[in-house]
């Protein structure tokens, strides 16, 4: 089931680059890039860490797309 995300949009609001976000959540810049492109679905732990940095819930960052859509 595909997973959409708003990581790039929320990162731009905080005015931080991929490297900085990666350092905050113990992930590499490359992983943040893969997540933003939708090429990698993060683990629960990483998703929670990202949501915590943005100060929002996980569901507001990562959206599960309905198969019917």
């Amino acid at each position: 089931m595909p997973l959409r995300n708003r990581v790039k949009e929320l990162r731009a609001r905080l005015n931080i680059n991929q490297q900085q976000l990666g350092a905050m959540v113990d992930a590499s810049r490359q992983t943040i890039s893969l997540i933003e492109r939708g090429d990698y679905s993060p683990s629960i732990v990483l998703a929670l860490k990202i949501a915590k940095v943005f100060g929002v819930s996980v569901e507001e960052v990562f959206i599960l797309e309905d198969e019917d859509e």
């Binding site: 680059n17 590499s28 992983t31 993060p42």
Partner: protein, 252 residues
């Protein structure tokens, strides 16, 4: 007809065709042993002639890797001054990846082609072109030294791009240290790539084993080629299965 039955029928047909091809090939190899032996001898001489220049070609792979490394370093330095430019960062990353690949593969190529053209391997020692062999030896040593020096430099450049990465290329525990510093996405990538590598190694080893058995029937190769390929195949399979078992049991 359900899918499993179709798969079984296809598998059985392939096995029957392979058995027929193997049987017919074996019969012709045995009945035309002398001409097959002469043909193999000619093929070996051609292989030897190709391998002499290919040993020098491995140096070209290293040179390409070094040139790409310097391009990668320029891109890396530019991207470190502009951390918001994601395209530049990705370009620096992929250029350094290409450089690391070429630099790390060049000594493998040099070793293979140098080993194949060793005096006495493809032709008698008294027919070996000694000046060519000495030149090859010098190129082989230079490729080894160059690849070590530039692997260290290339990994240091990647570590500047990704400061969280750990490990010294000269340390025997480098692969373990590097893996420990990888995050979940990188580990998944390594896992998928390793599984693909395991499948390819198994397929190639089976083909090489069959070729080795056929060739051994006409040329006096001894047991070493068949044993070497078999050991590689079994090591790959058993180490993969054993690691899967350990991970399943919750042990590292």
């Amino acid at each position: 007809m359900n899918k499993d039955k179709k798969v079984l029928i296809r598998f059985l047909l392939i096995m029957i065709v392979c058995a027929l091809v193997g049987g017919v090939s074996g019969y012709f190899m045995a009945s035309a042993e002398q001409s097959a032996s002469a043909l193999m001898g000619t093929v070996m001489q051609l292989v030897g002639k190709l391998c002499y220049p290919l040993c020098f070609a491995s140096a070209l792979v290293l040179v390409y890797g070094i040139v790409t490394y310097y391009k990668g370093v320029k891109l890396m330095e530019a991207s470190l001054n502009d951390m918001d430019n994601e395209d530049l960062l990705n370009q620096a990353d992929s250029t350094l990846n290409v450089a690391t690949t070429c630099i790390s593969q060049s000594p493998m190529l040099a070793m293979i082609f140098y080993g194949v053209t060793m005096p006495g391997c493809l032709q008698p020692m008294d027919l070996t072109p000694w000046p060519v062999f000495l030149a090859q030896t010098v190129v082989f040593i230079l490729v080894l030294i160059g690849s070590i020096v530039y692997q260290v430099k290339a990994v240091d450049a990647v570590k500047k791009l990704y400061p969280e990465k750990q490990g010294n290329v000269l340390d025997f525990k480098f692969a373990d240290e590097w893996l420990k510093s990888c995050d979940e996405a990188e580990r998944q990538m390594i896992g998928e790539a390793s599984y693909y590598s395991y499948k390819m190694t198994a397929a190639v080893c089976i083909v090489l084993l069959l070729i080795s058995i056929f060739v051994s029937s006409t040329l006096q190769l001894g047991p070493f080629p068949t044993l070497a390929i078999g050991i590689v195949m079994m090591t790959s399979t058993f180490s993969y299965l054993y690691k899967c078992y350990l991970i399943e049991k919750g042990r590292k």
